[in-house]
């Protein structure tokens, strides 16, 4: 009842010039709030959600593109450089959005549940970590015993080449894994991919002997970044430093650069995903997802279609892995745990599997939940603990609250809750995928 009332209200607002005004007001309000309150989480949430009003309100596509570009290329860099934590949040959202889009191809389009998806991310990350660091010359040293003056194997700019190599290698890994296991159905496949994810993690942890490939649990560092041209820093400074309020250091500029790269990768991924969804391949995936037997009867090569889905999904994760390794300059097996895989799955399920905007929304919601809402809540509880406040009715002093009650450490609980609740109440996700409504030929009226 309530939801239909809201829907009516929303439809009433969402037309004509009012929609344009609302979008503009939202963006400007968000920008103003973040600009004046650079440390407030709430202000940042207002800014971030302006992407949502950009998506939901009806407006001319050119207007939307323009506002989106201003948001992504001007406003976010400026507020991001003013408070580098925001840029980090946005970067993580982009990384996870790319991962979620990749998993979306496997889970949402082809209907194969992959519980070890971060394994491909790890493959990409370790690929650049190995070739973009001194690791090649550390092969014969046990972790921690290598001399400090070893040369780098490749120059930092080889990073760009490795973005492509990452795509290829991760895709090949997907095919290699897929070949034996894709004959399996649904739930078996899920468990085997889970196993594969664990295998990759255990390998990353233990391949420091007999030859030291991964440096074990300590992880690989330093990993090189591509060189930053001086003119880019100068150029950004001349345009934006009055807005930012202080000149930007090259270190901050790196964060910005990786944000822009992540954005580019996402745009490419969205483009590829949309084209794939509309292609013969995408239709074949849908057919496989809906009914395998019927798909075979239609002459769809089942295993080949599943393999392609696996490879495409894996290659998205691979390229993001390379990007992650370069942006962090450090990676360790911990970043590729089972929980990460489920985290990405949660994003896909929450947003709506098979739906591109949904999946991006899911990534944004889950990442902000992790990095901002839960953290903010933890900080708030800590402040309460420091104070002398008392809960009135039950006469409980906040001081006595156990330090174990730290919401930021209970991500799994929230992932679990989201998965269960979504499955029971809204299995299609927040923004369900649109079913194809086009027909081969319009019916003739008699």
């Amino acid at each position: 009842m309530v939801s239909s009332y809201f829907k009516e209200l929303f439809d009433k607002v969402n037309q004509g010039p009012l929609a344009y005004i609302l979008i503009t007001v939202h963006v400007i309000a968000g920008t103003y709030l973040v600009y004046t309150e650079p440390r407030s989480n709430l202000a940042f949430l207002v800014l971030i959600t302006s992407f949502m009003s950009l998506y939901f309100f009806q407006a001319d596509v050119r207007f939307k593109l323009f506002v989106g570009a201003v948001l992504a290329l001007v406003i976010i860099p400026v507020v991001g450089v003013r408070n580098i934590f925001y840029l980090e949040v946005i970067f993580q959202i982009s990384v996870f959005a790319a991962l979620a889009l990749g998993l979306n191809i496997v889970v949402g389009f082809a209907g194969l549940l992959d519980l070890g998806y971060v394994a491909f991310y790890a493959v990409g990350a370790y690929l650049w970590a190995f070739f973009g660091s001194q690791q090649f010359y550390v092969l014969h040293y046990a972790p921690g015993t290598q001399p400090s003056d070893l040369p780098f194997l490749l120059p930092g700019d080889a990073f760009y080449m490795f973005l492509l190599v990452g795509v290829v290698i991760a895709g090949l890994t997907g095919i290699l894994l897929g070949l034996p296991v894709l004959r399996l159905k649904g739930d078996y496949l899920a468990i085997v991919t889970l196993g594969f994810g664990e295998v990759i993690r255990v390998l990353a942890n233990n391949l420091d002997k007999p030859l030291n490939f991964t440096n074990g649990p300590q992880g690989i560092t330093p990993i090189q970044r591509p060189t930053m041209p001086d003119f880019a820093v100068d150029w950004f400074n001349t345009i934006f430093s009055p807005l930012v309020g202080h000149p930007i250091s090259p270190a901050d500029m790196y964060n910005l650069m990786f944000y822009i790269y992540a954005l580019i990768v996402i745009i490419v991924i969205i483009f590829v995903t949309r084209r794939l969804d509309d292609s013969k391949l995408g239709r074949a995936w849908t057919a496989v997802r809906e009914d395998e037997t019927a798909a075979i009867a239609q002459g769809i090569p089942l295993v080949r279609m599943k393999l392609t889905a696996f490879a495409v999904g894996a290659s998205f994760a691979g390229v993001m892995g390379v990007l992650l390794a370069a942006s962090r300059t450090f990676i360790s097996p911990e970043s590729f745990s089972f929980m990460q895989s489920i985290g990405v799955l949660t994003m896909v399920i929450l947003g709506g599997s098979g739906s591109i905007p949904g999946v991006i929304l899911g990534a944004a919601v889950v990442t902000t939940l992790n990095l901002q809402v839960l953290q903010g809540f933890s900080l708030y509880l800590n402040e309460l603990r420091q104070s002398d406040a008392v809960i009135p009715v039950i006469n409980f002093a906040w001081k006595d609250l156990s330090t174990q009650l730290d919401p930021a450490k209970y991500q799994k609980l929230f992932f679990g809750l989201i998965l269960i609740l979504m499955m029971i109440f809204r299995p299609a996700g927040l923004i369900p995928a649109k079913r194809r409504k086009r027909q081969v030929a319009p019916e003739e009226s008699k």
Partner: protein, 391 residues
């Protein structure tokens, strides 16, 4: 007495014991033979030279002197896996659905049992307990763990799985993953708030840590000690008892007949007047009871537990269920024993056989290798019938 015996199907009591005995002896003999043969071969290679330099024994002697302990350890963990695997296999048999949260049911059982014993210890009851009372307390802990886990399993089914019955196959699986994650952190939260720490240690009491020594054999330079710790005996005895009871319940009682009927064909079973929902709840209850008991046994054997303790045993038990043929109870027993054996053998000997390049740290992923191989070459499992997957 005779009248009473008429109602008991003695055959169904003896049959599982025979099966367990056959599986244990068979897999132990097979694995031992393989390892000894490998050792004999490796003695001729660089591996033998390496070990000779380091420890001054031949690979053959090293292998033999460790063999009895490895077999017993393998059997112990194998029975624990079998008990957990039965929970997976029963639920799969009835609902064709992987109860991913079963590993956390197991963990909850372990925590309840261990917390109870820790409480008894802090109350000062455990320290001076006589041998009889020590066993009584352990039994109490196992029963409490079983009840908690069984109740939780039923509740989870009611809340998170039943509303999804009839949805596509992946939907309840994703919900089950959610339950698994949720429970892990709930255990962590409860433990954190009440005790302030996540790792709990099983209190030592009674004579569980002692070893019974059968005898010593001298083999050239090395001595062979034949012995078994009381813990292992308890684990094996309790597990065998439970497995026999379960087998009896499913194969020789009215309720068991109903369970089998529901597993075979749910709509028809419901037409025959079987309350399908109640039977499904019962299946979860039985699986949970077994899982809870396995949890306490696991804690007894490995002493230390944490909120994530269920993850790997759960996965391995699932592998065991698939290995034996999921949905098939005898298969779960066989799979559990084989997997426990394989894993223990791999953990003990891989390091020596590969000159330290790949040691016991790979033991946890060993199970996955087996799982993948089984699924490729014999997807129906060792004892499973090749039935098409229900849509």
């Amino acid at each position: 007495m005779k009248r009473f015996l008429r109602y008991i199907n003695v055959y169904e009591l003896i049959r599982p014991i025979g099966q367990l005995l056959t599986f244990s002896v068979g897999s132990a003999a097979l694995m031992s033979a393989i390892v000894v043969a490998l050792a004999l071969v490796l003695d001729q290679t660089a591996v033998g030279v390496h070990l000779m330099d380091k420890l001054n024994v031949t690979v053959f002697n090293y292998t033999l002197s460790n063999l009895p302990q490895v077999v017993i350890d393998g059997l112990t963990i194998g029975f624990v896996y079998a008990a957990i695997a039965l929970g997976y296999t029963m639920v799969y048999g009835v609902l064709q659905f992987i109860n991913f949260a079963h590993s956390e049911i197991f963990a909850v059982g372990a925590f309840v049992g261990v917390e109870l014993l820790i409480f008894l210890q802090s109350a000062g009851v455990l320290a001076g307990a006589s041998l009889f009372m020590a066993y009584a307390y352990l039994l109490l802990a196992i029963i409490m763990g079983m009840l908690a886990a069984g109740g939780l399993a039923v509740a989870v089914e009611r809340i998170a799985y039943r509303p999804l019955r009839g949805a596509s196959r992946l939907v309840p699986l994703i919900s089950a993953i959610g339950v698994s994650f949720l429970l892990q952190d709930v255990i962590r939260l409860v433990e954190g708030l009440t005790t302030g720490q996540f790792n709990r240690i099983m209190p030592t009491f009674g004579n569980f840590d002692e070893r019974i020594i059968f005898g010593k054999l001298s083999m050239g330079a090395s001595k062979l000690v034949l012995g078994i710790s009381i813990k292992s005996i308890i684990v094996i005895v309790v597990a065998v008892l439970m497995l026999v009871c379960l087998n009896y319940l499913v194969n020789a009682t009215r309720v068991g007949k109903a369970i089998r009927a529901v597993a075979q064909d749910m709509p028809t079973a419901s037409l025959m007047g079987i309350n399908v929902n109640r039977i499904i709840s019962l299946t979860f209850l039985v699986g949970g009871l077994l899982g809870g008991a396995a949890g306490v046994l696991y804690a007894l054997k490995f002493t230390r537990i944490d909120p994530f303790v269920g993850f790997f045993p759960g996965l391995k038990a699932f592998t065991a269920a698939v290995l034996g043929g999921i949905g098939n109870m005898t298969g779960a027993l066989l799979g559990g024993i084989i997997l426990g054996m394989l894993e223990t053998f791999a953990g003990s000997y891989m390091g020596i056989f590969t000159m330290g390049a790949a040691g016991s740290e790979y033991k946890d992923i060993f199970a996955f290798g087996i799982l993948i191989l089984v699924l490729i070459f014999r997807p129906q499992g060792l004892m499973g019938k090749n039935v098409g997957q229900k849509a």
